[in-house]
């Protein structure tokens, strides 16, 4: 059976609800309707259903496993649906199953959760803020998975009273520190940075190029740690200050 849902976390939980309520057994799950004449079951997002499933999981599963499920739900560019559904089924049969790494769906979900966690950890370091004219700090991010909320809360703790905006460019979302809320971004202008910004960036680039030891230059290793896709908004990798440094 082919199932379609709207790709949101709420939608997926509604899907789980229907799987139990209507005894569905999906063979494919899509985030959008495929071009196909086959019979397709469409799941509608339903908040009550979603909540019931979430409550059920929180009652039955350990907090660790609930967190893993939440993290995988935020891996919005992965086709996580079938393994995650298998994982949830396994857990509702007996929550102890979720500790068993010899089960394939357990391994898969654990791996995704680990990859997600690693991405959050990396981005805690790789985000670059710029000071805007108004004194607010602003950073653009571009990530495979949706990690905006976790990053946002990390920076609230780190920056204290300093106001900041974290902008997920591709998803069109922004975390705003004061409200601790995520907003949809309809349209973003090129921001005006403060006067000081150029000096700070320059000092950072100078530091970055001088801290490397020439006899040990190893761009391959560098790239393993900072893959190219992370470098878009990291000023130290801009043009002339790219990975090799000249004196």
């Amino acid at each position: 059976m082919i199932v379609v849902y709207d790709g949101t976390a709420e939608g997926f939980l509604s899907l789980v609800f229907e799987v139990y309520a209507h005894k569905l057994s999906p063979t494919h799950i899509f985030k959008s309707r495929p071009q196909s004449l086959l019979q397709i079951h469409e799941v509608r997002s339903d908040e009550t259903h979603a909540r019931r499933v979430l409550e059920g999981m929180k009652r039955t599963f350990s907090p660790l496993h609930v967190r893993e499920i939440q993290q995988v739900l935020l891996c919005d560019t992965l086709a996580f649906e079938l393994p995650l559904l298998a994982y949830v089924n396994l857990g509702f049969k007996d929550p102890k199953n979720l500790y068993d790494p010899t089960q394939e769906s357990v391994r898969t979900v654990q791996n995704w959760a680990r990859v997600y966690g690693r991405m959050v950890h990396r981005m805690k370091g790789f985000v670059r803020f710029e000071e805007l004219e108004e004194g607010v700090f602003y950073a653009k991010i571009q990530t495979d998975y949706n990690i905006l909320a976790l990053l946002g809360h990390h920076f609230v703790e780190r920056l204290g009273a300093q106001g900041f905006i974290l902008h997920d460019v591709e998803r069109g979302l922004a975390f705003v520190s004061q409200e601790r809320e995520i907003y949809a971004v309809a349209h973003a202008d090129v921001p005006q940075v403060s006067e000081k910004e150029l000096t700070c960036k320059g000092l950072w680039q100078t530091f970055f190029s001088h801290v490397a030891i020439q006899n040990r230059t190893n761009p391959k290793l560098q790239q393993a740690f900072v893959p190219l896709k992370y470098r878009t908004y990291m000023s130290e990798f801009e043009g002339r200050y790219s990975s090799t440094c000249k004196h």
Binding site: G125, L159, Q162, W204, F207, N218
Partner: protein, 453 residues
Amino acid sequence: MGADSPTMRGVCEGVLYRFLALKLQRFHFEIKSLDTFFLGYTAPMAKTLFEKMAILSDSAKYDVSCSSSGSDQKGASLGKSHASGICHSFSADGRCISLLKVLMTNACIYECAYCINRASNAIPRAAFTPRELADITIDFYKRNYIEGLFLSSGIVKSENHTMGLLLQTLEILRFEYGFGGYIHVKLIPGCDTELIEKVVALASRVSSNIELPSSHSLALLAPNKTKEKVMQPLRAARDISLHKTSAPIPMSTQLIVGATPESDFDILRLSSALYEKALLKRVYYSAYIPINDNALLPSTLTAPPLLREHRLYQADWLLRFYGFRAEELVDEATRKLDVDLDPKTFWALRHLEHFPVEINTAPKEVLVRIPGIGVRGALKILQARKFRALDHAMLSRLGVSLKRANYFITCKGVYQKEVPLREDHIRRALLGPKKLLQPSLFDWYQGMVGGEV
């Protein structure tokens, strides 16, 4: 060659610098302030912040005893250090950048032979003021460039004067900015205990570099230092912090590898003694990069012993997290770690009486001693075998690498069939027949960062 060809001029200038610098060194006691220290010095004092940054990060980069990891500063208004340490970037040599690592000044009255900043070297000198350094730290921190500051300095005027400059920076950051992030302070050997006490109260971590693994080498190459003098601030810091709380301030040191003839055995015995006395949390190893011409040191053409450094880090890891003792890895008879094999495999091959190990029954301490199975692998095995008995295929599926482990384990009593359990056979199987191509440094470091050995 004409007298004014570039190389000749270089040599002449070098002589001139050395001459001037030596003269300055002799008179340094009468010098009143940092600026006058540079009067008459041909290399002009760096003027712009950018020049200072370039010079002072250049002179700090050989110090590797620097990484950030959790410690909490209560009541801070800006900043928080992260328990697992965050890398904010990676430099062209592939090393983690987590702290702003610069020297307060690279001027130094000392003459350590291995050091680029020693008094007689003809290099441009510069100095940050405590205020400048504190401001840059905050600017960098807010932009998420760094996790904190690594505060170190050449010795200018006197030990106390230098420690005072570092302390001043620390105080601006903690008291004025309410900065709660990570600050690592290099203790200056020979400064007063009073200063150390103030620093320990405010820093997240302190260190003092032993640099050379024996007193003999120190006497030879760092005439102003002795092991006692280098250890003194560490002992003082430990006593002070033990006095106040039960958790002493984390401390670390750096040992230079390959500048002097000490063996891996000497080095690891020193490290493990330091760990056992709970004096240090980390020992860092730094492959010596010849910078200065000196008859007592490897010539400037010698390549830094990066592989040896890597093997020492692996061995160190075994000391700290795997329950190995230094004497198990190297001893009087075998003073060197194997170049081709990691230290754990090297140990296992000399102790085949412990192998093969049955994966389904061995306790954790035994599992982690299997070559190729790290702490993470051992935990996976322990978890999975609660549910069913594991065979080779399941181990692979669990993500446990069998490349090395295969020769040292049985699964449900089954041992692999191709290679008999004998040192020479396994060694050949591990290294392959055409051991012409050395693995790239890249592969070594990948392993090292994962920490799985």
